[in-house]
């Protein structure tokens, strides 16, 4: 039954969801090389029964998965049972479930930990809130809590329901796969999980630079107007304008737009953040000024300059007349997919989201990508995307086995994220052998093996969990590099089935790999980081809705010409008088308290 389902659904085109799932496990890292560690067989590995081991060493052209060293003192004896909450749904081979699967059986053999499901929820924001609120209200928290939403987390903190893991973390966390992996972005990983210098949980980490923008542009249109890919804001403007004037789009006459934009100027797809970045500012972000105080970027004079520029571009027809009514995915389906737009500033995954529709609707469409443009003063910046999700992994106050859970997490993190280990889940649960030729197909995924699989959702704790939490934000990029630098050098006839399945790929997925590697390379350097990384201040809670509305309304109306450019000045005055000054004070109290 399960197999059939997956064979059928594998014909579906990948969606953004699939893409997100791909922040998959097999995608681990050339970290070994980075840290100079030699692959090691752990002590006690001989004790683990062969039938519990992942990989397919005995199949024709199969491969062997190497297990990391077993943490000191494990497996614990007598075994311990730990309760946890999980996000479902899962699919297992017959007879298995979330408490008893190849993952938990191997885990029990390695660590001595048995997991018991306290409660679960599916992909639904309200349900997870309801479940956690209920657990809080009935004072019945599981030992380990997966992806607690921030508002419940704040609630739990306020009522002292969570275990402070600071000391245990220092003693028991894996030096490379937890401590080193979560040290990126100047502590940005811990923006929620650390409160007043105390670690109150573990961060939820996704792929680095996942939403960092590149300029995606129609190569065939560039050829048609005889221009080359833009490197500055000025050139971007010239190209976009040329596209509009040549009216190269598929829609009705005059419907071609130069640059895709959405209802938020700074967003995850078809964003304008690199244009603001070219002036060194980012609307909605708090960044340090010369005197070391945080300042709210939306109220800075540079924003007025950019708004003036965007206003001119809108008047020239470079944006869709109604761009501000479109949500980001609608720009992907309508404008990019509808082949009415020539440029979008979108993340690497645009190669798999929007652009495939464009190519389907117009087989002659050719897309390419390039770095974001440089501003008039030589600045080149974009919104930095923090790979930390707004959820936290938490431990119940008084739970005595935090050290064991951390050790387990470190062990799995190494197994999953180091590509040398060659972990791709368990035969029969995550993939199966399709025929004599040794082709494998992933059973745990709607995509094929080459694109990753989501078997990691069966693992308790990060890495793993439904939705793709990892500990190393560069795991996916490292995996791409490993694939290209190591596997690609193996002669075609000598590759095993896992290599075969992951190597290759069509033009767009190769383009996605390239863009991904590039975006991660520029990740820390080109990003403007929002330095305000804590819960809303009291005044924010009171007036943010009002100030944010005012800001969004003013900016959009200035761009579309429904308001004058000088209305920006009255916005700044209103913002400051309406609570902005008080908020700035509160934000800086927090900021200076941090340092």
């Amino acid at each position: 039954m399960i197999r059939k389902h997956h064979l059928q659904s594998s014909k579906r085109k990948p969606s953004r969801r699939d893409f997100l799932k791909m922040s998959g496990i097999g995608m681990a890292a050339a970290m070994m090389a980075r840290y100079g560690l030699a692959p090691a067989f752990g002590q006690g590995m001989a004790d683990i029964p062969a039938e519990l081991l992942p990989g397919s060493p005995n199949n024709p052209r199969g491969w062997t998965t190497t297990l990391p060293p077993i943490p000191a003192g494990m497996p614990v004896n007598p075994p311990v049972t730990i309760t946890g909450s999980r996000r479902g749904p899962w699919e297992f081979a017959d007879g298995d479930n979330i408490e008893n699967s190849p993952f938990t059986r191997l885990n029990a053999a390695v660590t001595g930990i048995h997991w018991k499901l306290a409660f679960s929820w599916t992909d639904n924001e309200e349900e997870v809130l309801q479940k956690y609120n209920l657990a809080v209200a009935s004072n019945d928290l599981p030992d380990f809590m997966e992806t607690v939403p921030l508002q419940v987390y704040a609630e739990m903190l306020e009522n002292d329901l969570l275990e402070d893991i600071t000391e245990v973390w220092a003693a028991a966390a894996h030096p490379v796969w937890l401590k080193e992996a979560l040290s990126f972005g100047d502590g940005a990983a811990w923006q929620y999980a650390e409160v007043d210098g105390r670690k109150m949980g573990l961060p939820y980490t996704e792929q680095a630079a996942q939403n960092d923008k590149l300029v995606w542009i129609r190569q065939d249109w560039l050829d048609a107007v005889g221009m080359s890919a833009p490197t500055t804001i000025e050139e971007l403007h010239a190209v976009a304008k040329a596209f509009v004037e040549a009216d190269l789009g598929q829609g009705p006459a005059g419907s071609t737009i130069g640059l895709a934009a959405a209802n938020n100027l700074v967003t995850w797809f078809s964003s304008l953040d690199p244009i603001f970045g070219a002036w060194g500012v980012m609307p909605g972000y708090w960044t340090p000024n010369d005197s070391g105080d945080l300042q709210y970027n939306s109220a800075l004079p540079e924003i007025k300059e950019v708004l003036g520029l965007l206003r001119q571009w809108y008047a020239e027809g470079i944006f869709a007349q109604d761009f501000f009514t479109l949500r980001p995915p609608q720009t992907a389906f309508r404008q990019i997919g509808g082949n009415t737009c020539g440029i979008t500033m979108s993340p690497a995954f645009a190669a798999l989201f929007g652009i495939p529709d464009s190519v389907t609707n117009d087989p002659t469409a050719r897309w390419t990508w390039t770095d974001i443009p440089t501003g008039p003063t030589g600045i080149k910046k974009k919104a930095w995307s923090n790979p930390v999700g707004d959820v936290v992994f938490c431990f119940r106050k008084g739970f005595e086995h935090v050290d064991l859970v951390l050790k387990q997490i470190g062990w799995w993190a190494e197994l999953l994220q180091n590509p040398e280990n060659r972990f791709h889940g368990f035969e029969g649960t995550d993939y199966y052998w399709r025929d004599e030729a040794g082709d494998v197909d992933s059973m745990g995924s709607e995509l094929d093996l080459a694109s990753g699989y989501d078997g990691t959702k069966h693992i308790w704790g990060p890495p793993g969990t439904n939705g793709g939490a990892r500990t190393d934000p560069r795991h996916e990029t490292n995996w791409i590099k490993h694939r290209r630098e190591v596997w690609a050098n193996v002669p075609a006839g000598e590759r095993d089935a896992m290599m075969d399945a992951f190597l290759g790929g069509d033009e767009l997925s190769v383009m996605w790999d390239d863009a991904n590697v590039f975006a991660v390379e520029r990740w820390e350097e080109d990003g403007i980081r929002n330095h305000f990384t804590t819960f809303p201040t009291p005044t924010m809670e009171m007036v943010s809705a009002s100030l944010d509305s005012l800001e969004a309304e003013t900016f959009i109306n200035i761009i579309t010409g429904q308001a004058e450019l000088d209305d920006f000045d009255s916005f700044v005055a209103d913002w400051r008088a309406g609570g902005g000054d008080t908020i700035t004070g509160e934000v800086n109290d927090w900021w200076h308290g941090q340092m």
Binding site: N133, E155, D322, F324, T325, S544, S549
Partner: protein
């Protein structure tokens, strides 16, 4: 003896009631589940309104959250945008009620005059079809239809009219909301009027026709007076909705550019909720709306009784 006689007299007095109960008890049993459901889901949760006067936190529960008096209401009324969102809510909701009622009456009259049954049934089905689609689905459709290069703009372009931003301009947004709300709901609203129309005795129409009355005269003198009580009743009852401007609809169709004309209480509170879980403020807003709704409902039942002879007790 005396007691016995007394008993007998009492039993005699109660006899009709007993007979009635003997006949009707299954009906009373049948409404018990309904009453339980109403008590459980309509009255029991009402004690939750206390959160409007608390700084509610789910961890502390209703019993232990600190009391803050009227603070949440003060915050709500002191919101800088309160006047704007309250005005938008009233304008959109009232325009919707008026358009819906008048449209439904006209449509019902037209359908009533249609001779061919198949035609009437088909039209009736078609006009109340959108009622069953969610705003999420309709929002996507409208976004396409009303886009700068959408069907509507193409159509008016053929008459030499400039492209309009129906969803993006403050001149058009309320009109778009009211019209699309009308389109979605009017078919369903006509059903009650059509039912009322069937109650009019056809003899009246026949007599008027023999006396030489034309269609419009008959509508004016027979049909309309015939459904007047229904019109008054529905108009009065819709008073309770004057703060319901259509949250889902506006949420799917609005954008920052039209906050000035399209932001309503519900969408604003939704945005407040996005920033942090302010249960208490949302509770206060809900209570405020219920409070106004309560008075309007009392008023509407009074009007319904006075002008349409409709009463529940």
């Amino acid at each position: 003896m005396k007691v016995r006689a007394y008993r007998k007299r009492v039993w005699a007095n109660w006899q009709p009631a007993r007979d009635y109960l003997k006949r009707a008890w299954p009906l009373y049993v049948m409404i018990i589940p309904g009453i339980i459901v109403v008590l459980l889901f309509r009255y029991y949760p009402m004690y939750g309104v206390v959160i409007a006067f608390q700084d509610f936190s789910p961890a502390k529960g209703f019993a232990n959250s600190p009391w803050v008096g009227w603070r949440n209401f003060e915050i709500f009324f002191a919101l800088p945008d309160f006047g704007r969102i309250f005005g938008n809510t009233l304008i959109i909701a009232i325009a919707k009620i008026v358009a819906d009622q008048i449209g439904a009456i006209i449509l019902a009259l037209l359908l009533n005059e249609a001779r061919i049954l198949l035609f009437r049934r088909t039209i009736q089905t078609l006009i109340y079809l959108p009622y069953f689609l969610s705003w999420i689905v309709l929002g996507g459709i409208l976004l396409d239809v009303l886009a700068p290069f959408g069907i509507l703009n193409q159509a008016i372009g053929n008459f030499g009219i400039d492209r309009q931003l129906f969803l993006g301009s403050n001149d058009w947004f309320r009109g778009t909301i009211i019209t699309s709300g009308f389109w979605k709901n009017v078919g369903f609203s006509t059903i009650v009027y059509l039912a009322a129309l069937t109650a009019i005795n056809p003899v009246l129409h026949e007599a008027a026709a023999i006396d030489g009355a034309g269609r419009f005269r008959r509508i004016w003198h027979i049909t309309l007076p015939g459904i007047l009580p229904t019109i008054v009743l529905l108009a009065a009852l819709s008073l309770g909705d004057v703060l319901e401007a259509g949250f889902e609809q506006i949420l799917t169709l609005y954008s920052p550019a039209v906050y000035r004309t399209g932001d309503i209480i519900d969408t604003y509170v939704y945005r407040i909720g996005l920033i942090s879980a302010q249960f208490s403020l949302a509770g206060a807003v809900g209570l405020f709306k219920s409070f106004i709704g309560f008075f309007l409902i009392v008023l509407s039942y009074y009007l319904a009784d006075r002008y349409a002879g409709y009463r529940i007790l």
